[in-house]
Symmetry: C3
């Protein structure tokens, strides 16, 4: 529970029509109760702003007149909402120490402020930094380094030789450092190429649930500072994901591809191997990126939604498209001959 | 081992040509042995029906004359097969109690009939209902509620504030309640929006292996009664999946989208965010749903399989399609001018 | 650390310009240091071959003149590199025995040479073969058989009645034997079809991280010898994956489909159910295989990458494609009438 003064102060906002209330949480304009704080960040919700029951609303200066309750005036209400959201997070303050059921190698170094939960396993020579939380049943191999104030939720698997920075969050079920998919072919048999590169993850990275990041073949796979990965993403060996790039769910990136900085890849995008994607590239959902991109901008592939019967006819025509183009060419030539 | 009388009784079927045999399991018409029961549900397998070695067959009344062995006559043999399949399931009756290696918070409430397997971790204030099974190495956070006669298989991760109904099955590796993918952008940096909504899962839901269901940003993500989810599905924050909808493997649903009731989404479908999909909508495999659907029916996108060389030519033409359409228009105009 | 003699001997190569050095690892031509071995397998890296600092290079006979350092001459440097990579793997020799925190059923049979790590759970009647490694927090159900010299990394979940061959690697987070997605429909409700088939996995198979392989409905799902599966692959019930087939990340294969031998499926391919795919079939990335393939070769679907604005115009035209084809037909007819 926070007073409006504390909340306004936290986002350096100006309090208007202040009231003596305690705020127990955040909510949308529609759902908010008198003990909740809401925010107005999208003009299309103006009607909801005027009728909300929220105890207070984060707004820009030009909209404050529409607020009937208390208001916290800020330049960017959405950023202010993000900033305040941490106050109401489900995570508890960490409770330092190693649970009696955890199995920690004698050569591992666990900062005394870190929290190691039940049934965690930590390998030889691994170092866990200050204020870092390792959730229940997570396994961390040997020769790993995990920085300060990071959080690995329950059931994460970290292979040997993975370095993870500070203030990193890794959600449950993610696998960091599994072998890259590398085989040489001999007499139609696959010969495994053992993968000796590790994984290097920078600071302020968030990795969603059930993400897989393979270790490099010879040198490490790299996730740079500030990268945000959604759930069920597959990152193959020796990929580099550039600083502050955000990748949505179910994206797959093939081996040795280098994604630039500040890119966004929408859901289910697939990126082929050995490509270079320019900084500030944006790729729309379910696009196949099958060549390098050297010019920043938005890119797409695929076709758009149609009723199934109509789609079936168009799909048949797609298979005849090269022939259709040739027929148009012949018509043009015939026309030219006549004219 | 069950007698034919017991099996017929279980599906309210009529026993024809009964024999004194014990049935040890179910099998297809082709594979079935004399101590197995089969079923005839697809006319194209008539020949197999006539030659099966099955000890007995589930059939409709009009097909019973083709059965040389015993038959159990029912209106819907496929439904009868589904009903009987539970008798031969691999799951054992649950064995009530908490394994000595489980770590259960003192404020958690575990029904005495529930089974809590080895290395399970259960958080504060969580409630586990009667006859519910929690498989080995599964982790359940605090403030969760799990109903009666539900099953979480081994290695499931449930975050705090997740409510799960009765008769729910969740397969291994699934993650329920991880943070939704929410960030505000400021100066080209991503600021995390902490996710305080939980997840609410109804009754009679089945969730496959390695499914991820994120917690809501402010209010919960919702999976309604009777929903069936296959493996490797990603459900983002604040999605609602309507009653009795079935979703096949590898589907991804983006944030705040509302899927209607009794829908089916085939494998690898992607659904964009903030959409509404009508009840009784069916989407074919690998379709991108990039706009709301307000009319029930079948929908598709994408193109169909072709030999690679032919596809390469057509794909080039696709990139020229707008230009091709304009050339056709010019030809039509020229024709019109002449006529 | 290995001498050049030992390494050359291991790949039956001829040592040229031998030096008394100890090799500590493998590296690319560009990155290699004087105590590392590199390889020249791609003509486009000739310049790097001439300038590498590697202590020695694996080369073909015709290229040895370009190597300034020591060389190991072999017929196929890439295969030789793969062969030697195992010497520098991150895996430690196994350390036989069962960790005190593991929970092993009394009727299970664990070979005394096997290593069972912390918090592993093994069910009744399961058999673990010689020199097999079961990583921390992995769960194996009852009635399973795991062969010799296999490795299940940490956090793998194996359901009851799964048989796994010799020299198999299964990476973290993979789920083997979860229920297939089978339901009969009655009065718009889904009735679960319990899945009594198990999973049978051959020898020399590698399975990546977060792969899901469902158990069969009545008979087992089958992964044949020498199959290689990348991460995040979904294999539905009763699928058969033929010998030495390699499947890249994020592929989904629907129920009862039979993939031939020596096939390759690129990333994010989706294969519909009840299909047969011929031996030696190759499918390009993000293709939807919606019909059986009886002729070996390469197959594709989808469209290629474009700038978003251009793509939007073409996508609109795609929805008019059937109509466009009819208009071209009318133009052709009109031309024919005139001529």
């Amino acid at each position: 529970m926070y007073s409006l003064e504390i909340l306004a102060d936290r986002v350096k906002g100006q309090l208007v029509n202040s009231k003596k209330i305690s705020i127990r949480g955040l909510a949308t304009l529609t759902d908010a109760q008198p003990d909740q704080l809401s925010f107005f960040a999208n003009p299309k919700y103006l009607k909801q702003l005027k009728t909300t029951s929220a105890g207070a609303v984060l707004v820009t200066p030009n909209m404050v007149s529409h607020v009937k309750s208390a208001a916290i005036v800020v330049d960017d209400p959405y950023v202010a909402y993000a900033t305040l959201s941490q106050l109401f997070d489900w995570r508890m303050p960490i409770s330092s120490g190693v649970h009696s059921s955890a199995v920690v190698a004698s050569s591992a170094t666990i900062d005394p402020t870190a929290e190691i939960c039940a049934h965690v396993v930590i390998g030889e020579n691994t170092v866990i930094g200050a204020n870092t939380y390792i959730g229940a049943n997570t396994v961390i191999g040997r020769d790993c380094r995990i920085g300060q104030s990071s959080r690995l939720e329950s059931g994460v698997q970290v292979y040997p030789d993975v370095h993870i920075g500070d203030r990193v969050i890794i959600h449950s079920g993610s696998i960091i450092g599994s072998d890259g998919f590398g085989f040489a072919q001999q007499n139609k048999q696959w010969i495994k190429i053992y993968q000796s590169g590790g994984v290097r993850i920078g600071h302020d990275v968030e990795i969603g649930a059930s993400v897989t990041i393979d270790r490099g073949a010879l040198s490490p796979t790299r996730i740079e500072n500030g990268v945000k990965l959604d759930n069920q993403i597959q990152i193959a060996h020796n990929v580099v994901v550039g600083e502050s790039t955000a990748i949505a769910g179910c994206v797959g990136i093939s081996g040795s591809t280098k994604i630039g900085k500040r890119c966004t890849l929408a859901g289910m995008v697939g990126v082929a191997g050995h490509l270079e994607i320019a900084d500030d590239t944006h790729v729309t959902a379910m696009t196949l990126v099958n060549k390098s991109i050297d010019t920043p901008g938005a890119y797409s592939s695929g076709t758009a939604l149609e009723p199934h019967q109509q789609w079936k006819r168009n799909v048949v025509r797609f298979r005849q498209l090269d022939e259709l183009a040739k027929r148009v060419k012949r018509l043009e030539n015939a026309q030219f001959d006549k004219s």
